[in-house]
Symmetry: C2
Subunit: 678 residues, 2 copies
């Protein structure tokens, strides 16, 4: 303890990013990393069991940082950690679990690539559609009559008079924090002041003199990724976009595990609430820094996200959303002061949360609707927003239906042996040579294919959801798996390896990866993707039936996953019902776009509240034949449905069998040839 | 530091109250006392200069508390404290300045009587006038339709429907904290819930099932004393009344010194804000405990106080109120969430602050107006509310004027050699025998006069404001001081002592006091009271002139001081203009009563806002002849004004001279007699 009662601080430098800063003594390296904006993977949430957060401390004199990093500056491993390493026959001396090791002095810490939780690449910034700018936040400049003896009005009454006379504003109230600083600011600006008014109702910010610039922050709070856009409310321009992992993943990968975490732990909801609030504050901080602004400059936030995420942002226990009848606290839009939630922006800032349609279709889906406007179109549109949960919309301006399908985390790399999020190093495209049956691939962040570059430069780290889609479609088209998703036996590909867990296919060799280990896809991995795609497909088909259509005019793929996907291969997988491929669009983070639009337009907010009540929500899980349809749809391509647009893309069984036979004979011949030569 | 990062705690027991509790290591005894609810005097605010906070540590084994108190458990005196004791030739070994000594271990500490800041006696509970009960807080019981599949409304929408159907309530909003707990509470009450609605607009509290009981807290935030009433909003009954010293006195005794403290210290305003907020929370805690309730049960607060106190409650820098043009932040009533201020009551509770008339006439005066209703009366009323500042009202339903007069702290015992607040042990009544010219007196908390009991039982601790009024009126009537307030020389009283500071009058002998030291009143003390009463009188006369009257029909004395005062002697002092003594009323803490009324009636709140704008505020200090009138009014009784109602009470100079001559001759005779005898 220092004399003023605060804890001692130590400099910690994280490599390879070089991020550094002072952290209080005694906190874990994982917490230190979070404080300094270094993202380290963690699944178990500090239970010292998953090992995803392992790091290596570097000891020695680091003159460039002006510190000495030594073994005494890190706490020795305790029982749990020692147990973890003993099980893996490793000495904790080189690797340490960052959730267990505590800072006792200055340190240099290496975060190995596999432990890095990288910032998701956002392929395109949210596109801003043409709208009339009418944000809830408006700024007004006024000259206020100076106080003088004999005028017994208060400064607020004088300011009200000026706003009325100059701008015709009436019936305004003033936020407590604005009132608190009113007198100082009026005098600092020599009775000239820039007033920020929320919704034509409330003065929420005062700045001395003439000031220009009102900023909002639109956030899509995903189960896995949180992405925010800093928006100039005067121009509608997006000034900065920042994304990070949802820190709640520590407490559970998907919605159900977070709901359970809240049920099993007395402070579980509070912890998850605090984690996401802190993440929102962090995103605002980064985005405002990038735009040379200050978090105080953000005076309005719009949030979208699924109903569980929105409940946790509000600190509401999501337990009711975990079981029938899936009751929401409210289906309506919510306005709440950012300070009541603890988000570090301007204290008078408001947080607007878009309305929900039902317990499973939340503000994120409303964001998609606001961005893509299926409710005003003539064409029948299918919108799928794929996250850990998939939201589906089918219909047009006459009748629009929505549903939610529990796809699980497979599309985001979860529950896949070498799965990972769509981040640099992830394999996102795969092609299998129809002759050699060997794969080539491309990783995110690298324009070249794996066969166009030296192995050691590839540095593949894993395979992301769109990579899995590509891979499975290719495995099928090449005849390595059959329409049920099973590896064909005997398998014709040299990259197939029988044995453990009914076989696996080697996508990348050890020399092509950053970890020095092969990247493989197992039968189980393929199965997980099949489950996910079938949930999606079945939901879409059910809604189409309800809507009375057997074909949609257009398919919109929303979400980060949709942006990375190969449309043709997704359809080969049977991810969505048949459609002209020209009419399949990846619309990016439409939920986030909707949030941006609601930041810029009060009319859109009002519209969202109306549409949310108008959309017809279908609880697909209670449909009597959902289960049977789901099982039916597991195959590739869906074997009960015509896919005219796939004509020629997917070989029939005979062709595959003939190709396999050809290859076998070719190999036999070559073997005989070699035998003869030897 | 303990392992969880918190500071070590030690048990500290304060004697004689026996209050005890654990406090963090390293804090001062003064802070420890405050944390444990032990009030220790302090004027300098921890500067180690006033010595009012001195205490004695008791060392030894205290088996009854299970601790050992030893000299190592208290920090040794530093330079400033040693200097303080050296100047006084005392060893800090027995006495210590509690603002300097820090807790290093378990301790038993004695607070000598003179260091105790005792809880002010509240003579009468706030009287509740007859009003129609219409509080801003209403409770409603409803049965809500249970959630079921197919009903996509949220719980809040279901609750709104129930409130509409059962009670006709519409357009309600819900406070964030209520929304947060809505789902749990609805289910805990099996879909029956008691809803607390504020102002017919906002749901602020939810309780499972049927619950009865809504409570408010009305507070008069005085410069010196803070008094709060816990009110049952259903019955209008006052359930408990609690008062304490305003902890801001640490930062300055009067308004100007607090304003300066805020100007001189960067965190001065924040400190004073935090101190009063903490005091409000403490009062609520004590009052709710007394009524077997919980602070969470308080869902509404009404505050009154002068403009500086209200600014500090809000965390507004009162600097503008320290100089012309005395600009308020707002003159209007204010509604702010208690949680925004940090007051520990129900998180949805609202704080209502009454409007102000002008920079110097604040919510406390509006409270007096609401309680005494001079604005509806035919008679011309003079209302004086005496605190550290005095507010004055003159007029009737046709025209009501207000002013503020800086009386200073003398009436509250400030700046008086042995002055103290109206607390047990304070001399509050004095009579001087017209023959012997010796005084007798009565202390608060003791029905007998000093000459009716043994000296050692009297235990006088000081003299309070009303005691000073009594004493000075008696000194004058007995011919010991003249009409200018000066001690007559040669002085006829055996209790007069010439010498230091132009003389002093012994009121209580050393054997009659709790400190073992005489209680005296000096020429300077008399002067301080004269200044205060002249400020009051001059302000009242000025308002009467403005109102066009030379006589008032009724005088109302508001405030704690007014309750203790002897009306006749106050008029002999010239505290207020001449009036029929039967028409002089002590109305108690009328400001607090007004706050209670506004807690019970929304109509009164609305009325207050209108009256505040209607009352004619007069800035007396800028009246051209104020200074001359003030000097004129210093004498006793006021020598330019007829006081017909004092006829016979005040002897004329001739009578006094004759009495003195008689006494001199009698003494001469007796001396001669003794000389002859010897």
């Amino acid at each position: 303890m220092t004399s003023d009662g605060s804890k001692k601080q130590h400099l910690v430098v994280f490599q390879p990013s070089g991020r550094q800063g002072y952290v209080p003594e005694g906190i874990t390296l994982l917490d230190a990393a979070r404080q300094l904006g270094v993202e380290i993977e963690s699944i178990c949430g500090g239970q010292q069991t998953c090992g995803k957060c392992k790091v290596v401390a570097d000891y020695g004199d680091f003159s460039k940082y002006g510190i000495t990093s030594s073994p005494e500056h890190i706490s020795p491993p305790g029982g749990d950690e020692r147990h973890y390493w003993e099980k893996r026959k490793r000495d904790p001396g080189d690797y340490r679990l960052s959730c267990a090791a505590c800072v006792l002095g200055d340190l240099v810490v290496n975060v190995p690539e596999e432990s890095q939780a990288r910032k998701q690449i956002v392929r395109k910034s949210a596109t801003v559609r043409e709208i009339e700018l009418d944000p809830a936040i408006r700024q007004y400049f006024v000259r206020v009559q100076a106080a003088e003896l004999g005028d017994n009005r208060g400064d607020w009454e004088r300011l009200q008079a000026a706003l009325r006379d100059t701008h015709g504003l009436d019936n305004l109230r003033i936020d407590y924090y604005a009132l608190r600083d009113l007198q100082k600011i009026l005098r600092a600006g020599k009775w000239e002041v820039t007033v920020t008014v929320w919704n034509g109702q409330e003065v929420i910010r005062l700045q001395p003199g003439y000031q220009e610039g009102a900023y909002g922050f639109a956030v899509d709070v995903g189960t896995t990724t949180v992405a925010g856009h800093l928006v100039d409310l005067h121009s509608g321009q997006i000034l900065a976009t920042e994304a990070m992992m949802n820190p709640q993943t520590t407490y559970g990968e998907d919605l159900m595990s977070r709901i359970s975490y809240g049920m099993m732990n007395p402070d579980g909801v509070d912890k998850m609430h605090a984690a996401i609030i802190d993440a929102l504050s962090t995103l605002v901080k980064r985005a405002t820094r990038a735009a040379h602004l200050h978090p105080e400059d953000v005076t309005e936030l719009v949030l979208v996200g699924n109903t569980v995420m929105m409940a946790l942002v509000l600190g509401i226990d999501p337990v009711e959303l975990g079981g029938a009848p899936f009751a929401l606290a409210t289906h309506d839009a919510i306005d709440v002061k950012a300070r009541d939630l603890g988000i570090r922006v301007h204290p008078g800032a408001n947080v607007h949360i878009l309305p929900a349609e039902a317990g499973h279709v939340g503000a994120d889906n409303m964001g998609v609707v606001i961005a893509e406007s299926p409710h005003v179109q003539e064409d029948i549109v299918l919108v799928v927003d794929i996250g850990t949960n998939a939201e589906i919309l089918v219909g047009n301006r006459e009748h629009l239906l929505s549903a939610s399908s529990p796809t699980g985390p497979a599309f985001e790399g979860g529950e896949i042996t070498h799965g990972m999020r769509a981040a640099p190093g992830a394999i996102e495209q795969v092609r299998i040579d129809r002759e050699t049956l060997r794969p080539r691939f491309r990783v995110i962040g690298e324009p070249r294919w794996s066969d166009e570059m030296p192995d050691e430069e590839i540095q593949a780290a894993g395979i992301c959801g769109s990579g899995m889609i590509d891979l499975i479609a290719e495995l099928f088209a090449a005849g390595i798996i059959d329409a049920s998703g099973k590896f064909i036996t005997p398998n014709p590909s040299p990259n197939f390896r029988a044995g453990e867990r009914v076989g696996e296919f080697v996508v990348a060799t050890a020399s092509q990866t950053s970890t020095g280990r092969e990247i493989v896809v197992t039968q189980q991995d393929i199965r997980a993707i099949q489950f996910a795609k079938s949930a999606l497909y079945t939901g879409a088909k059910l809604l189409m039936e309800r809507r009375g259509v057997d074909k949609v005019d257009r398919v919109l793929l929303a979400g980060g996953f949709g942006a990375h996907i190969d449309k043709q291969r997704a359809m080969m997988m049977g991810l969505f019902p048949d459609c002209d491929l020209d009419q399949v669009y990846a619309v990016g983070n439409a939920a986030g776009d909707g949030a941006v639009l609601c930041l810029l337009s009060r009319e859109r907010r009002q519209r969202a509240r109306e549409i949310a009540r108008w959309i017809d929500y279908v609880e697909t899980a209670v449909e009597p034949d959902f289960q049977a349809r789901f099982v039916d749809a597991l195959g590739l391509p869906h074997n009960t449905d015509p896919f005219p647009h796939l004509q020629g893309l997917i070989p029939d069984r005979e062709t595959i069998a003939a190709q396999a036979e050809n290859r076998r004979q070719a190999r036999r011949k070559s073997r005989r040839r070699r035998a003869r030569v030897s």
